[in-house]
Point group: C2
DNA sequence: GCGCAGGTTGCAAGCGCTTGCATAGAATGC
DNA sequence: GCATTCTATGCAAGCGCTTGCAACCTGCGC
């Protein structure tokens, strides 16, 4: 009832060679004479042999595994990030291992420990707000890593592949101000403890200043990212009697929820209220109306991060700090505010 | 420049005990005398020691890893499935390892091999359309597994935790027929090679039969799951001049795309066309109008599958076949067709 | 015909940990 | 007070592979 899986040794016996040769047939086939190689591979096939990863890892001191510490993002950002990393990693035979911090504010240390126990050869860290001990432990163990979605606090110290959230916020503000909006509202993730949310907010505020546009305190809501949260936030804004013609949502999920709530309250988008999101999620062209949003290079970041780590593992020691461009995608949810038609 | 990470031996030396004792301090602390235990743990902490997973796996013959073969689903189903599996697994110290078949029709064998190389203790298989060799290899290696999202073809042979897609299709049909709809259209994933899509379709057709409702061939479109695909499909239906008052979409992504396209074509939902999706995705309450859809127990399936495998690994040999209920969630995208107001 | 360079393959020493068994005290019972 | 039973720890044999090095061939040049 415990038919042990075939071992290297059994394959070797069947092929009439030593275990070393079988090992080489699988990892560096070009070293073997043609005849031997085919004979060995036939034996492998015949027995359904599968290499024992733990033993390989132990002997070779590499696991061919890359870890990623990724907080619970929205499903779409999460899936996109994972997919893009995987796509590149699998080409070189690496496997991706995921670990989430227990909750958004928790330390990344336990997640990192899980990954290190698993022997990851390198690590992807999302965001730059990690416990300093995290970087320290990576350095001590000499494990390459890269920060994604953000710039490193100290670019010389940490490699990073990200984009500029502040600039994203500014793009949104400039677009709306240019359309003529002066009364703003914003639904955001908590701006403390989340540098990405904070930067989007700061960028927006920055771009409002010169035109005299307003984003009063009672028109600001901080909540978690989510459809329901966006919807609830609009309910709150309206209950507060907040006065705005432009609603900036911290990401596209919030925006979708907001669109639904605005429709429910009979506010037309974009005639009565312009709505903007962030992320240019896959669904953004299919909201009603189609959502104006800022495109983040999430896919490119994942691919770039994966390639960078692979390079590092090949011996390249360079520390890279890449900032990929963000881009405003104007669709149908923003337009000029109607003259003198503010609520009331 | 290669400061080897601390080993068990170094910890043992620092704590003045043998390596065996350190090992036990970490895995079965209750076996040690209080004093020894704290001394050892202090040393562990001091050195920042992290166990070497590969060596553990090799010595203990268990990896504490569970693998999942999951085709590329939509982001939300994927994320939900992964999250629910992880939530349960991590409680018992298991890590989840993912592998995707290269493309939807590809064999799951390479994905399985990746997982087996990694030494997974058990495997989750999504769907039941796997190469027989897959089951065979799992059996030979004595690796527990469970099929999710579907019933096993042969329930006695394979454990499964799923739901009834046919019933889901029937629920939708019955709802629409009861509202008075007689002319249907459907946008589906390819029905061959995807039993889930096929069953939803068959269930729908079944429920139409008795009322004399029609789902003509030119009102059926098969495409991939996606927002854009849903939107394009509606364009096609309208270009074909298909005549329908009820549009059934194979999942909620298709439905969102369809809603957007219908709005673009000036067809009002639900007055002119009722629209239904499948999955009750998180965003379903926030589409415009809010989407009527069938709730799948995806979260529950993940949790259940994880618990089942953990039980198996504890020695319970039972083969479980669970079918969790599906449920129609009626929102605002369906209503009775207007009398005599068919197109034309 | 011999020496030597390449090209192949075998040998065997670990990789860092777990765990069954043995051992040594300590505690208990009579 | 001694035998007996526990409890806490040490010992050391692997777990299944990779890989540096050595050994062996083969063929070629001279």
């Amino acid at each position: 009832m415990t038919p042990r899986p075939p071992s290297l040794e059994e394959v070797a016996a069947l092929a009439g060679v030593s275990t070393g040769t079988v090992s080489r047939a699988l990892s560096r086939p070009e070293l073997l004479a043609e005849g031997t190689r085919t004979r060995v591979l036939a034996a492998v096939d015949r027995l359904g042999y599968v290499r024992h990863g733990a033993a390989r890892a132990l002997a070779s001191r590499r696991t061919q595994t890359i870890g990623a510490v990724i907080p619970r993002l929205g499903a779409s950002m999460f899936a996109t990030t994972v997919r893009s990393l995987q796509r590149v990693l699998e080409v070189d035979g690496y496997t991706l291992l995921l670990a989430h911090p227990a909750d958004p504010d928790a330390s990344s240390m336990p997640a990192l420990t899980t990954l290190l126990e698993r022997g990851v050869d390198a690590v992807v860290l999302l965001g730059n707000e990690h416990d300093p001990a995290v970087y320290e432990r990576l350095r001590v163990r000499n494990v390459p890593y890269v920060i994604i979605w953000a710039r490193a606090g100290d670019p010389a110290a940490h490699p990073s592949i990200g984009f500029d959230n502040r600039r994203a916020g500014r793009l949104v503000g400039e677009h709306l101000v240019a359309l003529g909006h002066r009364r703003f509202a914003m639904i955001s993730a908590p701006t403390q403890g989340n540098a990405r949310a904070r930067d989007r907010f700061l960028g927006l505020v920055e771009s409002l200043a010169s035109s005299g546009a307003q984003l009063p305190q009672n028109a600001r809501i901080e909540t978690q990212y989510g459809y329901r949260e966006g919807s609830d936030a609009v309910d709150t804004l309206i209950a507060r009697d907040a006065d705005f013609t432009a609603l900036v949502c911290g990401n596209d999920y919030l925006a979708v929820g907001a669109l639904a709530a605005l429709a429910r309250h009979g506010r037309r988008v974009p005639q009565d209220v312009s709505v903007v999101g962030f992320n240019d999620s896959e669904f953004a062209p299919y909201t009603i109306p189609a959502l104006t949003t800022v495109r983040f290079p999430i896919e490119a970041i994942g691919e770039r991060a994966a390639s960078y780590l692979i390079e590092r593992l090949r011996g390249d020691e360079r520390i890279e700090n890449v900032e990929l461009p963000v881009e405003l995608v104007v669709r149908d949810s923003t337009t000029a505010p109607r003259r003198g038609t503010a609520r009331r």
